[in-house]
Symmetry: C2
Subunit: 417 residues, 2 copies
DNA sequence: GCCATTTGCTTAATCGTTAAACCATTTTGC
DNA sequence: GCAAAATGGTTTAACGATTAAGCAAATGGC
């Protein structure tokens, strides 16, 4: 029982005709109200909708039965329509409505006419199920947590896009967060998302986050590692074959006649970076090329801009000058190429370039850059596919997916003259 | 009452010492179990945690009281610890635990020692509150829905990043989705997020999405429009002053001595695009420069690549040849510059360039590009700030924020020789 | 005509958390 | 010395949906 005090209340109702506006509040549900229709004129012409004002006038304190109360409260508190409201209007129990709306009507022996009636009411009232309640009850939120290094990095933005699409395809929603390559931030983020009861994670790991992985395993939380993984931990992962990609880049430069090949990478213990370095070293070895210590430069992530510049300086010292540079990531390449521009070095006449990273931007460079194209489409898709499989079948075996990158050969690594 | 059938069960427990492992399951709660500790050896060395196996042996069908059941079920079903579990262990009611953990202990007259005890237990059991239940009960999900055109576009990726940070600062989580500039997709997305009970939206509107805005208003759903808005609809929005930005770009080229200035924009009825065109036209007028129809080219979004090329071709026709081009968006610029590269046109000797868009990439171009820098930081922050204000105070007045862009003048628009 | 089955629905428990209302004690004020 | 207030809790209902279990009434079989 709720008390409705004397007075006049006005409710604004969008409808197509005055009659429709009145019909929305069934008259008989307000036995003690005087309902006055009052047309307000055209407020908006969108799709032919107009607004009408309904006056509710009552003189006494009303003690209304639950049925009326529900509807009045809905209008006044702007609450959303629930299963119960539909049930009240249809004169059935909430359970029945649930059955019908979930397509379990036949299975639970609901009369066809009743089912149709319920569906119609649900549509009229524009019922939107409360996903929170659904999730709480079922223990499944149909949400995936995506933890990436930085969404403003084009590589991850693209991955995020693909993950989002693929997830929606399975009926999942994505919550993302950026870790900034920081293990602590990453863990905080994961905890927040665990509290939101995401069903599983897709994680781009950061340096020193091995224990996070153990922690998730201990708690039986489902996840798939993306782009980076830990060879010593048995987990699901989807990654590029970085060794091969890097090897191919080196071999390509060797084949094109370059002899002094340098690599600029990040200083990191992470496997994907070590693999890129290992691939480069092996490519030189296989092709019987010399290697000088100054040709392998590892720069700090936090100070990349200046360190890349000094790295390039060192590579260009007389005596051990490189004639080709491989950049191990996109951001290194952007910083490096800017500097090379400023130095007035001609690519590829003075210096050949191969870079990891993304296509789009490298087209803007005066000389189109040869780059390692990762299969982002399949990286993202595979990660979601595996995660969904694991969520649907907890006994699913471990998937370790290594995708080959493709070397896109262009002007910046043309045959050396 | 739950039946536990005869047999042996093994539970894997992470702990630091065998004693600790046993302590986790309080012995006295299993009066009919034989509990055997069995050390499994080092499984992982992470932070000194080891795994221990606990054997539960029972001979009869057990009808255990609720307290034991709780714990057994937790282990077997891998369920998370809830308020109730803490309450059981502490010997108090769930409500009390809730009060304590929400810092309302003092307000609700909970003894200090009891509060500390509860906090300790919560920590020991690694209690993580269930956000779904919280939201369901409180009606607030502390989640913001971010609807953008395409997260793989660097502008929006950056915005997403800023929105995420600012939202976390207020304790909100972000769910995002890409609309692909498609009003139908955008509406679908919004509906999905409404069902997830996001507290409010930050929306980058698409063409023809005016009615969506009305729809949200009718349903009393909170939102802030970002980057694009509808001048005829009274809503909160945060946007760049596109007219001024475009005017400044045109005026700058005029000042530098260019006389035949063209603009390549998207064919769109959206206000932000119309404003960019209007700014360009007015800049020409103010500077008493000629305008030819072929100098204003509007290309289709879905076919941008080829249409940009024909647009440039038309601008370069003999007789009405432009000496400067303004690109109205980043993606138009990328496509246009690639084509200009291919044509062998020298920037700025043959053609000056000014573009809307983002800094990073334009540095790679042989000649640094003059560009309109939008204040992304404040765009994103302001959107979140306004939304949070509205969520905390529904009577908050409408905020209409127009931020000025900054023209970064570089080599591509140097003084005409 | 009578029991068994089917039909068509309702009831009640549950998920985890919150918040108002309630209830004994004990302490305080004058 | 006695009412009022403070203390330290508990109980209960609610949020919105799902689902097993239960229960009348109608129908079917022989």
């Amino acid at each position: 029982m709720i008390n409705v005090f004397p007075g006049t209340s006005t409710i604004k109702i969008p409808a197509k005709t005055p009659a429709e506006a009145l019909a929305i509040i069934p008259n008989h549900t307000f036995p003690l109200f005087t309902v006055t229709l009052y047309y307000s004129g055209l407020v908006t012409s969108v799709k032919g909708w107009r607004f009408y004002y309904i006056h509710l006038v009552n003189r006494n304190i009303l003690h209304l039965p639950a049925f009326s109360i529900q509807f009045i409260r809905k209008w006044f508190t702007k609450k959303k329509i629930s299963l119960k409201d539909i049930a009240l209007k249809a004169g059935v129990s909430a359970a029945l409505v649930s059955y019908v709306l979930n397509g379990k009507g036949r299975k639970n022996r609901v009369r066809k006419e009743k089912a149709e009636e319920i569906l119609k009411i649900a549509k009229d009232l524009n019922y939107q199920p409360n996903h929170l309640a659904k999730s709480l009850r079922s223990g499944k939120s149909f949400t995936i947590g995506l933890v990436i290094a930085d969404i403003s990095n084009p590589f991850f933005a693209n991955i995020a896009r693909i993950v989002e699409n693929q997830a929606r395809h399975y009926g999942y929603t994505v919550i993302y967060g950026s870790s900034d390559e920081d293990a602590v931030k990453s863990m905080d983020l994961i905890n927040v998302l665990i509290n939101r009861r995401v069903d599983g994670f897709i994680i781009v790991s950061t340096e020193n986050s091995g224990e996070q992985v153990y922690h998730l395993m201990e708690q039986h939380i489902l996840f798939v590692l993306l782009d980076r993984y830990f060879p010593e931990i048995k987990t699901d992962f989807v990654s590029t074959n970085n060794y091969k990609a890097s090897f191919d880049a080196g071999a390509h430069l060797a084949e094109r006649g370059y002899k002094n090949i340098g690599l600029i990478a990040y200083k990191s213990k992470m496997f994907h970076m070590r693999e890129r370095i290992r691939g480069y070293r092996d490519a030189l070895k296989k092709n019987k090329l010399a290697f000088k210590k100054t040709w392998l430069q590892e720069v700090q992530f936090n100070n990349a801009k200046t360190e890349v510049e000094t790295a390039i300086d060192k590579m260009l010292l007389p005596g051990y000058t490189v004639d080709a540079i491989i950049f191990a990531t996109y951001s290194l390449a952007v910083n490096g190429l800017k500097y090379i521009n400023r130095l007035g070095i001609k690519v590829p006449a003075d210096l050949a370039i191969v870079s990891f990273g993304q296509a789009d931007v490298f087209d803007l460079y005066a000389c189109p850059i040869t780059y390692v194209m990762q299969d982002m489409e399949n990286l993202g898709k595979a990660a979601v596919d595996i995660l969904v499989k694991k969520m649907e079948n907890p006994k699913e075996k471990i998937h370790e997916v290594l995708l080959d990158a493709k070397l896109i050969k262009r002007e910046s690594s043309r045959i050396k003259k």
